[in-house]
Amino acid sequence: MSLLGKITGFDQARGYITLLAVAAAAAGLYAWGAIGHAEAGKLERQAELLCSAAGSQFVAAPAKPGAKPKKGDRGKACLAEIRELAAFKRDTTDATNGVLAGAVAEQAAKARKDAARAAQDTAATRAAVERMEIENAAVEGDRVSGAWFGALNDLAGLRDPAD
């Protein structure tokens, strides 16, 4: 009896030890799971923050009120929004560069045209001034005539009086 009792006691003790081991393992697994769960929650909050910065939601509101949001839909709307924003940025940068480049080219063309016109004007003015000086030097006795008036008309850029 005593031997059997000892054996039974041992059996009981073994049962406790097994239970303890299983409980320890379960506690470990639970803790591990809890850490994983906490990590996932942290990531989801982070994702929510990122999506709200882009003006969207990580967990989009369900189509029907009261319906549960589908897990697979999480982040879909947000991703689309971010892609759209990136495309917008790219497109506007391209458009801006185009506009600026066009403006620079147009300005350059204008300046070139104006420089050509200015050179032409300067040459014409110099010739007219020269002619005026010659005609003015040729005046005798304060009497001015057709040639002097012609040079004056030319200098002022006036039209031909016969027009």
């Binding site: 050509a116 004007d121 850029g157 027009d163």
Partner: protein, 83 residues
């Protein structure tokens, strides 16, 4: 940021090309002392310079409005090589 080209064109009244008046008649004769001639020359010089400057200003703002297109000196980007 989107850059948008803003056209700022002066009113049409301001970009009207100056029309030169008719000059002194061909066979005109007059007695003019040197001071009067000098004044007339100054006026004519100033008028000529002003008109040219105004034309340039108008052409800058509204290209082609004063006609008389200059020689095509500006190179065209897709111009065909001269033969």
């Amino acid at each position: 940021m989107v850059a948008v080209k803003v056209e700022s064109v002066p009113p049409a009244e301001l970009t009207r090309c100056p029309e030169a008046p008719r000059g002194f008649p061909d066979g005109a004769e007059a007695l003019m002392p040197p001071e009067v001639r000098a004044a007339a020359i100054r006026l004519a010089t100033a008028y000529g310079a002003l008109s040219k400057q105004l034309v340039r200003l108008i052409e800058w703002n509204v290209p082609g409005s004063c006609g008389g297109e200059l020689d095509p000196v500006e190179p065209v980007a897709n111009a065909k090589p001269a033969r």
